[in-house]
């Protein structure tokens, strides 16, 4: 029999339903696995007691015939989601000791569906980063190793690096992620798993520590397209507590996985072939196009002319919002406080000690672009360009049903690489950021391995609130890709 930790969520639900194993056994298997993989540093906080308690309750519900859609499935929660009574850090020193009195809408919905919480997953501080190297609680290690240099520690991507690493290493069946500019999709690609950033507004942001409010969106990360669909079904839905959540019905995403994509038009944006795009990424992309053709879909070359402006636009909009969103971390009411002689002194000391370099950098950029005299040149212009980028997509979707691109320009890189210059690091998100700015759903799935044996991901982008088409096409690609490679030690 397959190890319990290697099951997909769908298979585990099946096994639980048939009584092949209990939720407690499934949970215990994960807790045991977690204990052997602490070197990855995927979890900031493990909650084994809570997990077993929830698993017991799940078994009782199942016995009573009241099992929910994810009943008994052990999940990890990105430590950006506030969890009632459980330390919530956003991977920042400034939230020291913060145990919320409330549960985020999304994590509550997952609980309501019967899932079991294994713990809180590491991330880049305040979700700012693409390599999970900015966490106050330490760098997360990618469970995958390069063939050429197996000793080299690789990054899992970011910001949902802990989530991606945990799912890939089989120490969570699935995990929540959040994506502001690629924070679900890029780590999913780096760790050989599947993750979807749904349409902005699909999941409630209530109770998620805010990074950039107009971009932040929660989504599932799991090992199959179907698992993501099952999780998203539980996570999504209108929430009156989030004014930006959309009052639209949530379809059954798993039902979209019909395998039939005949006649669909798939956009291939010509602007997504920047100089220096690695050959292997290009090859995987070409392969992806072939799979879709073989399944009866038609590739169509499209143009997204403002793509090249997406990165600079994002690095104005996101820091601007972040600079304001992070003002509440002032040492007055919760988290870290470093005493000072005056109120201003206390603010300065607390925030200097509490925020890491990347967060401070973005607060400074954001403060600058919103300042009198610079606002129009930066913030106003960025908002206009953001609109143009969204219009590019809207025009493209008049021609095509879905868009296929690489998820990231490269496979996972070494911890410490790309760290000299923040801009090099930011380039990781060049393919994911435009989607975020346009608020569209984007899914990354593993499509092949680099010559070094590392996973490479492809991204599918859909129309607003058309995650179903994205899932449908992803399902077909998943079957074609036959991605069966496993990271080390699984």
């Amino acid at each position: 029999m397959t190890k319990l930790t290697n099951l997909t969520i769908a298979d585990a639900l099946d096994g639980l339903a048939k009584g092949e194993f209990s939720a407690v056994e499934l949970t215990q298997a994960h807790l045991d696995a977690m204990a052997t993989k602490r070197a990855l540093n995927a979890y900031i906080t493990e909650t084994p007691e809570l997990a077993l308690e929830e698993a017991k309750a799940s078994d009782a519900r199942r016995k009573a015939g009241k099992a929910g859609s994810l009943d008994g499935i052990p999940l990890g929660i990105k430590d950006l989601f506030c969890t009632k009574g459980v330390l919530t850090t956003a991977a920042s020193h400034i939230l020291d000791g913060f145990k919320p009195q409330y549960e985020s809408t999304v994590s509550q919905k997952l609980k309501d569906a019967g899932s079991v919480t294994l713990g809180k997953l590491n991330l880049d501080e305040f979700a700012m980063g693409s390599a999970n190297i900015t966490s106050y609680h330490g760098t997360v290690e990618n469970p995958w190793k390069a063939k050429a240099d197996p000793a080299k520690k690789l990054v899992p991507g970011g910001s949902s690096g802990g989530s991606a690493a945990a799912v890939a290493a089989r120490i969570a069946m699935g995990a929540t992620g959040t994506d502001t500019g690629g924070s679900i999709r890029q780590p999913a690609a780096f760790c050989g798993i599947t993750g979807i950033k749904p349409t902005y507004g699909r999941c409630s942001r209530w109770g998620i520590v805010a990074f950039a409010s107009s971009l932040d969106q929660a989504g599932p990360m799991a090992r199959t397209v179907k698992d993501c669909a099952l999780m998203l079904n539980a996570m999504a839905g209108y929430d009156p507590k989030d004014s930006t959540s959309a009052p639209v019905a949530v379809p059954d995403f798993a039902k979209a996985l019909t395998g039939d994509i005949r006649g669909l038009k798939v956009g291939i944006p010509k602007e997504y072939r920047p100089d220096g795009l690695s050959d292997e990424v290009n090859k995987v992309w070409e392969k992806g196009i072939e799979w879709l053709k073989a399944a009866g879909a038609t590739p169509v070359e499209i143009s997204l002319p403002h793509t090249k402006y997406a990165l600079p636009t994002y690095y104005i909009v996101a820091p601007a919002e972040a600079s304001s969103n992070l003002a509440r971390y002032d040492g007055v009411r919760f988290g870290l406080r470093v005493e000072g002689k005056t109120l201003d002194d206390m603010y300065k000391k607390t925030r200097a000690a509490g925020f890491g370099a990347e967060v401070r950098r973005r607060i400074m950029i954001g403060t600058y672009v919103l300042s009198a005299g610079y606002y129009d040149a930066y913030y106003t212009k960025a908002q206009k360009v953001r609109r143009l980028i969204a219009d590019d997509f809207a025009r493209a979707f008049e021609q095509v049903d879905v868009i296929l691109t690489p998820t990231a320009p490269s496979a996972a890189f070494g911890i410490g690489d790309n760290s000299d210059d923040p801009v090099t690091m930011w380039l990781n998100d060049v393919f994911t950021i435009p989607t975020s700015l346009a608020g569209l759903p984007g899914l990354s799935l593993p499509a092949g391995l680099s010559t070094d044996g590392l996973p490479l991901g492809l991204q599918l982008i859909g129309r607003p609130f058309d995650e179903e088409t994205v899932f449908k096409v992803a399902g077909v690609m998943e079957s074609a890709a036959q991605f069966t490679a496993l990271p080390e030690g699984v």
Binding site: S243, D330, S371
Partner: protein
Amino acid sequence: MAYLIQGETCDWEIVIGLEVHAQVISNSKLFSGASTLFGGEPNSQVSFVDAGFPGMLPVINETCVEQAVRTGLGLKAQVNLTSVFARKNYFYADLPQGYQISQYDLPIIGEGTLLIDLPDGTTKPVGIERLHLEQDAGKSIHDQHPSKSFIDLNRSGVALMEIVSKPDMSSPEEAGAYLTKLRSILRYLGTCDGNMQEGSMRCDANVSVRPKGSTELRTRCEIKNVNSIRFVQQAIEYEARRHIDVYESGGDIKQETRLFDSGKGETRSMRSKEHAHDYRYFPDPDLLPLVISQDFVDGIKATLPELPDEKKARFMGEYGLNSYDAGVMVAEKDSADFFENVAKGRDGKTAANWVMGDFFATMNSDAKYTWTNPPVSAENLGRMIDLIKDGTISTRLAKDVFIFMVEEGKDPATIVEEKGLKQVTDTGAIEKAIADVFAANPDKVAEVKAGKDKLMGWFVGQVMKATQGKANPGMLNELIAKKFKE
């Protein structure tokens, strides 16, 4: 008459614009469900949203939007169907989010007009620049500990309307009249209780001066958070004088924010423009643009009460009041309602005399009297006027009846009955009283008959006294005159 301040070089006029922060009457806060009641235990009315906790999001309170629209309509102002909430960023211990959610480029209410009533009975229009919705901050308390400050977040997130006038006022009196009228309208509308002591209405005054006849706008100073109408007037007067002194001694006024010290009656610098905050306003990404429908606005319009200006005009037409009396009567909705309850179906002028005379005097004599607990109910005052009209009591007796009504709270007919205050209209009884006075004072009778007419009044008084003031005054005069002619 233009209000001018005499300087050494010339006469100066003042240019005044006012910003009023009016706390919206609503059960819960602008973006959270926490209560807005005044006077709760510190930090007892605070949600996680108000306290700026991680992951908390604002959700607009529809009642507050409705109140803002209602106020806009009351100010005859443009209602913007789309408006945008923006963040005003600054750090302070009682501002938990590190920003205040306000409106900047696109306020919910645009330009309007307010008619101020001046003491000479004339009115003057003052332009309204805008009205926007915003959150209040919490309160810092500095006097509880030698080195620490305490923070009370009960107010944090309470909805305020910032109502900005155009710089259309030119004297402290006009500023006072503006605030009085604005408060009156807000109270009529039920959108703000206008209580300046409790801070539910606060005023910032922008003041500048210019030589008489000039149309330039010179540098203005903003006097922050003045908490009574009288203080606003004092602050403006002081500030204008200060500007003139500076100009006349060759100096220049710096744009700055100033505080009014009501103890010393002077303003002093709080922060200059160079130290002004850069608030980095930008649209709040947690909130979508606020879009309301014309139907929503029309629905509110349909429920607007009669406002002071319309009511004043009606009182003048319907009850024959003059402009001044009508203005006094409508200043408060409660007084207008009271008056109208008294005057309905009766002589308006008589009603006005009683309400503005004995009634207001008694009302103001003791703090225990309020509109919910008036010294005399409108019904009883009305019935008393009826008793005067039908001759049961004289106006003179009515003064006594009024006092008994205040003391005993009974209806006037009962009082007249119990106290025997019914006026005597029986000719025989009055003639008998006259005869008694004549009999007791033959010398004075002789004097009158000898031509000393002035003593007639004395006889009237004596007979009135003898009838405990109950004799019908008209009849009494007539019968005494007749008696002398005998």
